[in-house]
């Protein structure tokens, strides 16, 4: 029997800080924060850079592939590299990610082959990656639905005692969905080891945040669910890592879920099917271009002596090779066997599907003869 009444405690402790957590200043200077300690070794610091650069290069290639007609559509992460790489890097291998459709950066960190992600956007039959390979769920195209799967996954993981954390990625627009609300409430009520990672990139397609919510910030919504709300500079990879790390550790220790808002900006169109010049200004874009997450981090690394031209070129070379391989794989992607159409609707599709397959076989054979 559980007790009636809300959990006691000072709700102010759940409030986000007045300003987003920021560890790197505009010039790449590091200002550590006691509440969000960095536990990264030099190799980790370089790895964050490498993932951000690879993500940006693959992203550019994906846009080009779409322009060439190779992909149906693609949702760019340009400008959001730090907002994805930091939190994904804060997870352990057994943890799970429940992504939206814009998560190429997080996918790279989890070890997913970017070609697999692009197969999904290409519509190569069948799905791109196996979710169990890297504990990375299907990219969710519907908005916010994956937050519920993360909550349920985390509830089950808690029952299991496995010490797993589920991290759900979604955007500012998704915070208006009922699914997201129910997921936050569920996770809080069940103390689920879950981190809700919101990339506030300022726009849901064309709708700005001011039309999405009247909450002071997205992170403030956490208080209503009884979980801590964190807010960080989403273009500062050290801040996104450190804040995510705190939320992940808290969840893993049994402290329950957190909501994190990473404040960032979508530098590209919503998807390749969108024209953002209709709803945002060049001035605004310029302001955010100056806050580029990779440039800022590069300045920091060079100042620390962790990055030089040789290493930079090495990463660029790796990116060129990766991009070339991905491009080749997408060019050569098979069209798939139409007869596979009836597989996987059910575990055991049954005679009704066998008959449909036979019928299609006959039609295809007939077309071949005509």
């Amino acid at each position: 029997m559980t007790t009636a009444g809300a959990v006691a405690g000072d709700p102010r402790a759940l409030l986000p800080p007045d300003a987003p957590v920021r560890l790197l200043d505009d010039e790449g200077g590091l200002h550590e924060a006691d509440a969000f300690p960095l536990d990264l070794k030099d190799a980790d610091l370089v790895a964050l850079y490498r993932f951000m650069v690879l993500a940006r290069r693959v992203d550019r290639q994906a846009i080009n592939l779409q322009r060439q007609g190779q992909l149906g559509v693609y949702a760019s992460l340009l400008g959001q590299e730090a907002a994805q790489v930091g939190p994904a890097y804060a997870l352990g291998d057994p943890d799970w990610v429940f992504p939206s459709y814009r998560e190429m950066g997080a996918a790279l960190v989890r070890g997913i082959d970017p070609a697999a992600i692009l197969h999904m956007f290409r519509g190569t039959w069948l799905a791109g990656h196996d979710p169990y390979d890297a504990n990375f769920a299907l990219l969710s195209i519907p908005i916010g639905t994956q937050a519920l799967h993360a909550a349920g996954f985390a509830m089950a993981a808690k029952l299991d005692g496995a010490g797993l954390v589920a991290m759900s990625f979604f955007g500012d627009g998704a915070t208006s969905e009922g699914d997201t609300h129910e997921a936050l409430n569920f996770a809080a009520v069940f103390d689920a080891p879950c981190v809700f990672w919101v990339q506030n990139n300022q726009y849901a397609i064309s709708v700005p945040l001011s039309l999405q919510t009247r909450a002071p910030t997205i992170a403030h919504k956490a208080v209503g669910y009884g979980m801590p709300g964190y807010r960080c500079d989403g273009n500062d990879v050290l801040a996104t890592y450190a804040v995510a790390r705190r939320a992940v550790d808290r969840a893993r220790r049994g402290g329950g879920p957190s909501l994190v808002e990473a404040v960032t900006y979508r530098m590209e169109a919503h998807t390749t099917a969108d024209d953002p010049s209709r709803y945002r200004t060049e001035t605004e874009l310029g302001e955010w271009r100056a806050k580029d997450p990779i440039a800022r981090y590069e300045t920091f690394l060079r100042r620390e002596g962790l990055l030089d031209d040789a290493l930079s070129e090495e990463v660029e070379q790796e990116a060129r090779e990766l991009v070339a391989r991905v491009r080749g794989e997408i060019y050569d992607a098979p069209h798939g066997d139409p007869l596979e159409l009836f597989e996987h609707v059910y575990v055991e599709p049954g005679p009704h599907y066998d008959e449909q397959r036979r019928q299609l076989r006959r039609e295809l054979d007939g077309a071949g003869e005509a």
Partner: protein, 325 residues
């Protein structure tokens, strides 16, 4: 064999599966301490504890969505949606997520999930708490749909649903909760997709489901007095559909009457009519006939509700006409 009520058979069926498989968990509104608002989860909390019987917030999307996430870990969640009408609240998670995740991941991900819900009219609960929306679920490839009509079938179909690796929506009829029947003491598992012939007959085939099975059987008894021999088929599941059973019976009787509680407009009976028209047209001796709910929202006023829902008398009269065509 023990005689159990349909209501108790639900709790018994759930408990049997939970005893058998520790991966089975039950979640929903009021399912734990209260034993379910329909008392269909009575005793589960006591026996299995709060780790496996989860009282949830009033969040149907989350009940189904979290069950999907939990199913991805290898649990076999049984989610209760208090009224089938509320499937509308969580339809995205059912129709766009649970039903499609396996397909969209080429079978890499399966969602072994059971969604139990209460459907049906006849108890004057009004337009938003009385529907029989099994035809909604029927329209979504990827879902399996079961509608038990007896306590034994409740236990057997629940066992079949929990053990199936596909998402299954199980509709329990609120008008049947108090009905009683024998339930086998030993393990009783019904494979989904096997209809039951409830009564043998030679003059016409009556296809029914859930609460309309009783109407069909009452009508068949009445018809016997008028020298009409009706065969009664209880479909048990709409997906998979036991087309073989329906066609075999129909080819013997050459007359088909379908009795369904959902609205005639888009009702599951149309699917059966299409099946027979496509597969056995030349056996027809008379037009395929449907007795269905009227295509209106269900009124709360008892007299009006009765006029909307199919009745045994209506089945008898329609069957008589059909037999004499």
């Amino acid at each position: 064999m023990a005689e159990l009520s349909y209501r108790y058979a639900v709790a018994e069926g759930l408990a049997r599966e939970m005893r058998r498989d520790p991966a089975v968990v039950v979640l929903g509104e009021d399912v734990a301490a209260a034993g379910g608002v329909w008392k269909t989860t009575q005793g589960l909390l006591d026996e299995f504890g709060p780790e496996r019987v989860w009282d949830t917030p009033i969040s149907e999307q989350a009940i189904v969505g979290a069950a999907i996430g939990a199913a991805m870990t290898g649990l076999r969640p049984i989610a209760e949606i208090m009224y089938a009408d509320f499937l509308g609240v969580c339809w995205d998670q059912i129709a766009n997520q649970a039903a499609k995740l396996r397909y969209m991941t080429a079978g890499q991900l399966t969602v072994p999930l059971v969604i139990r819900t209460i459907h049906g009219g006849g108890v004057a609960k009004g337009a938003q708490h009385s529907q029989s929306p099994e035809n909604w679920a029927l329209a979504v490839p990827g879902l399996r749909v079961a509608c038990p009509s007896t306590p034994a079938d409740v236990v057997g179909l629940l066992a079949g649903a929990v053990r199936a690796d596909d998402p299954v929506v199980v509709f329990e009829h609120k008008g049947l909760l108090g009905s009683k029947g024998e339930v086998p003491d030993d393990e009783h598992v019904l494979e989904l997709g096997r209809a039951a012939v409830r009564r043998r007959g030679t003059d016409l085939t009556i296809v029914a489901l859930s609460a309309t099975v009783r109407l069909a059987l009452e009508a068949a008894a009445e018809l016997e007095g008028q020298d009409v021999s009706a065969e009664v088929i209880d479909l048990r599941t709409l997906v998979p559909l036991d087309a073989g059973c329906v066609l075999e019976s129909f080819k013997r009787t050459s007359r088909l009457l379908i009795v369904e509680e959902n609205p005639r407009q888009g009702g599951w009976g149309a699917q059966i009519a299409a099946l027979v028209a496509e597969e056995a047209f030349w056996y027809l001796d008379a037009p395929i006939t449907r007795v269905a709910g009227e295509s209106v929202p269900l009124p709360a006023a008892r007299g009006l509700e009765n006029a909307v829902l199919p009745s045994a008398d209506q089945v008898t009269e329609t069957a008589l006409k059909l037999a004499r065509t």
